[in-house]
Amino acid sequence: MSNPFEYAPAPESRAIVDVKPSYGLFIDGEFVDGTGTAFKTVNPATEEVLAEVAEASDADVDAAVKAARRAHTRVWSRMSGAERAKYLYRIARIIQERGRELAVLESIDNGKPIKESRDVDVPIVAAHFFYYAGWADKLQYSGFGTTPLGVAGQVIPWNFPLLMLAWKIAPALACGNTVVLKPAETTPLTALLFAEICQQADLPPGVVNIVTGAGDTGRAIVSHPDVDKVAFTGSTEVGKAIARAVAGSDKKVTLELGGKAANIVFDDAPLDQAVEGIVNGIFFNQGHVCCAGSRLLVQESVADEVMDRLKRRMATLRVGDPLDKNTDVGAINSAEQLAKIRELSAIGEAEGAERWSAPCDLPANGYWFAPTVFTGVSQAHRIAREEIFGPVLSVLTFRTPSEAVEKANNTPFGLSAGVWTDKGSLILSMANRLRAGVVWANTFNKFDPTSPFGGYKESGYGREGGRHGLEDYLKGTSVKGADS
C-alpha cells in the first residue's frame, strides 16, 4: 500500500543569506584579495557553483601571521580577560542573532541537513563562545597558567565548518592568543561570514585572520616560523604529516584526527533507543563525523533483532534536499569523498561482507550515498578498520563484555565509543576499559562545550572543550589537581 501521507517539501529559504560571487581573504580586519589562484566552492546537493574563493599564497599567510602577531603583542594579550570576554560574548550573541543565516549558508556549502546545522551546529557554536567567554577572566583558576602562547595557526575540516571554527577560535581568543585559521577548501563560506561577524563585533584587527585555500595554504600556516601553536582537525594522514613538520620546533600542537568508534549494544539495552543511537551515531551529518559510531558491536543474542529494527528504521530516513527541514540525511560533501565512500564500500562487498542500503530515491544531481549497513563483518575486514567517513555502518558481534572491550580497543584509533545497556555498573566498567577519549552511555554524538573532547592513539592528542581545552593555549606551570 502506497502511503498517502507524504510530507510536502518544506525548504528553508536561501534568501536570508547573501552569497557573494567572490570572496577574498580576511587579514588584519579587512577583506583583501589573495595572490594565489582563486577556486570555486560548490553546493554538494546540486553541484551549483556558489562562489569563487581566494587562495592564500605563502605571502598571504605570512601577512596574516604578521597581522596576528601585531594584534597579539599590541592589543589582545595586553587586554584584561574581562575585556576579551566582552568580545567573545558579543560574537556569541551575533552568532545567535544571525543563526538562521549561518545555518542556511552552512547547509548549502556543506550539504548537511538544515535541521542539523540549525538545531545542532549553530547552537553549539554559540555555546562555545559563551562558555570560553566565561573562562577569559578566570584563567588563574584553570590550573594551566594565564599566559597566552601567541599566534595560533588553525586548520579545520569540512564536516563541521562552523563548529570546528568555534572549537578552535573560542578557547584561543579567551586565553589571549590571536589566530590564523584556514577553513577547508570545500566549505569556506561560513568562516568568511564569521569574519564579517568579527567586524560587526568590532574585534580588534588581526585578532582573527581567515585565510582560504587547500593543502598548500595549510602547509604554509603549519610551517610558518612565527606560529606558536598549531591546531588541526582532519584526517590522520595529514595529522601525521603535520606532526612530522613541526617535530623539533617549539610549536605546541594539538591534533584531532580520525576515528573508528565502537558502538556497543548489550542484550539488555533499551533496544528502540539503541537503534536511534546507532542511526544517530553513523548517519548524523552523513557519517562525516570523526567520532561516528561506524563499528556497531552487538551482542550475538540480540544481533538479529537489532538488525531487523535497524533496517526498518533506516528505511524511514529521508535523504535529499539539505534545506528541507524534513531531511534526515543530506549530501556527501564532495565528489572526492563520494568516490572514497564508494571505493571502500566496494571493498567491503569484495571481502564478503553483506551490504544493505536503505531504499531511497537519490536526487539526480549532487553527491549522494544511501545509508548503508554491512553485516557479517569481522575485524579482518578493511571496512572494520579504516575510517570511511560516510553513511556506512559495519556490524560485528560479540558474546561477552570482555570480548566487546577487546574488539572495541583493537583499532589504531581511540576517539569515542558508545555503550548501550540498562545496567549502570556495566556502563561504568566498560567506560573504564575502553580506550577512547569519549564514552557515551545510552546516547551518542552528544557535544557540549563544557566537556573535553579528544582521542587516543591515531585519533590524535590534546583536548578541546571544557577546562582541558584551555591547556594547549596557555603556557605556565601546569598545576595538576586530582581531577586533571
Binding site: 502511503n3 498517502p4 501521507f5 510530507y7 533499551p270 533496544l271 536511534e276 524511514t316
Partner: protein, 325 residues
C-alpha cells in the same frame, strides 16, 4: 470497522500467562525504554513539517479518527444527542467533511447515542468497568460492560486495575482484561471491540507503559489506549511512541494488528498531526486508519474543522462558525 468474531486470542501466550511469575519474567524481559532517548525521538518526530496536500489529508484522516467524547457527571441525553449529531456531520456547512469514528459516552448514554447514530457508520464507544478509577468488584465491572454491549455499544473502553498492575499482580490484570473481553461478546457470536485504558499518568514509567501494552495485547485487547482524560498527564507523544512500538513489535511476533488510542489533552490540529507523523514513521501507513488509530478528544474536532476551512477557503473563521457540540 467491522465487528470481529469472538475473541481470536490464540494460545500463543499460554505458557507466559500460566502464572504471575512467568508473566513477570516475560514482561520484565521486554527491552527497557530509555527515558531520555524516547523523549528525544518523540521530540524529533514532532518537528516534521506537514503542509498543503499532506496537511489536508492529515486533517481529514484525523477527523475520521476522532472518538468524540463526553464523559462528565453532568451529561444528559440532550447533550449526547447533540454530540452524536455533530459526529455524523461535523461541519454542517461542508458536506465533504468526513464523520468522526465514534462517539464515546458512559454506558447509560449508549442507547441515546445509538438512537441518533443509527446505521450512519459512526460507532458508539462506551467506557465501562467502573471508569475512570476501575475500583469496583469484578462482577460489577463485568455487569457494567454487558450493560453497555446490550445497549448497543460497538466498542468498550475499559480501564485496567492500576493498583494491581503497580503491585505486580500482572496475572490479575491479564485475567480481568480477558474476562471483560468475554463480556464484550454478543449473542450473535460477534463481539464489541475492546479498548484497554492504562492511565499512563499513573503508571509513571515508560517501562510500565510497554509492559502494560504487552499485557493487554496478550489478554486480547483490540486497542490500547493511554488515558481516561481524568488524570494528568494524559496522552503524551513519548507515551504514545512506546505504545506504537509495542503494537508494531506485537504484529512482528504474532501477525495481529492492535490499534492505539491516545486520549486526553490533544486539542489542536498541530498536536494531532504530530501523532499522525509518529504513527507513520513508527508503525507505517498500515496504521493510518481509524481502524487502527484513534484520538480520544472533545475539543480537538473544532480545531480540525477550523484548520480544514482555512485549507479550503484560505481564511480563518472564528469559533462562532463551528457548532459547540
Amino acid at each position: 470497522m467491522t465487528p470481529t468474531a469472538s475473541p481470536q486470542v490464540s494460545g500463543a501466550f499460554d505458557d507466559i500467562v500460566r502464572s504471575d511469575s512467568s508473566l513477570r519474567r516475560f514482561l520484565h524481559g521486554l527491552p527497557g525504554v530509555d527515558q531520555v532517548g524516547c523523549e528525544a525521538r518523540a521530540a524529533g518526530l514532532a518537528t516534521r513539517s506537514i503542509k498543503t496536500t499532506a496537511k489536508a489529508y492529515a486533517i481529514d484522516l484525523a477527523i475520521r479518527m476522532v472518538d468524540l467524547t463526553t464523559l462528565e457527571g453532568q451529561d444528559t441525553h440532550g447533550k449526547v444527542r447533540a454530540l452524536a449529531s455533530k459526529a455524523m456531520r461535523p461541519d454542517p456547512a461542508d458536506p465533504s467533511c468526513p464523520a468522526t469514528a465514534a462517539v464515546c459516552v458512559y454506558p447509560d448514554m449508549v442507547a441515546t447515542a445509538k438512537e441518533v447514530l443509527g446505521d450512519s457508520g459512526v460507532h458508539v464507544a462506551a467506557v465501562a468497568t467502573a471508569f475512570p478509577s476501575g475500583r469496583a468488584a469484578m462482577d460489577i465491572k463485568l455487569a457494567d460492560t454487558r450493560d453497555a454491549v446490550e445497549a448497543g455499544a460497538d466498542e468498550i473502553d475499559m480501564v485496567i486495575d492500576r493498583g494491581a498492575f503497580l503491585s505486580g499482580r500482572y496475572l490479575d490484570v491479564h485475567d480481568e482484561i480477558a474476562q471483560v473481553r468475554e463480556a464484550c461478546a454478543r449473542p450473535d457470536g460477534t463481539s464489541a471491540h475492546l479498548k484497554v485504558i492504562f492511565e499512563t499518568g499513573e503508571l509513571q514509567t515508560y517501562d510500565n507503559v510497554r509492559r502494560a501494552s504487552w499485557l493487554a495485547m496478550m489478554a486480547g485487547a483490540d486497542f490500547i489506549k493511554t488515558s481516561t482524560g481524568k488524570v494528568q498527564p494524559a496522552a503524551t507523544l513519548p507515551v504514545t511512541l512506546v505504545m506504537l512500538e509495542a503494537v508494531r513489535d506485537f504484529r512482528d511476533q504474532t501477525g495481529r494488528m492492535i490499534g492505539v488510542k491516545p486520549a486526553g489533552g490533544i486539542r489542536t490540529t498541530k498536536d494531532a498531526i504530530k501523532y499522525l507523523v509518529m504513527v507513520n514513521e513508527i508503525c507505517g501507513a498500515d496504521w493510518l486508519d481509524p481502524d487502527w488509530f484513534r484520538f480520544g478528544a472533545s475539543t480537538l474536532l473544532n480545531d480540525l474543522l477550523m484548520q480544514r476551512t482555512k485549507m479550503t477557503t484560505g481564511r480563518y473563521s472564528g469559533p462562532d462558525y463551528f457548532t459547540l457540540d
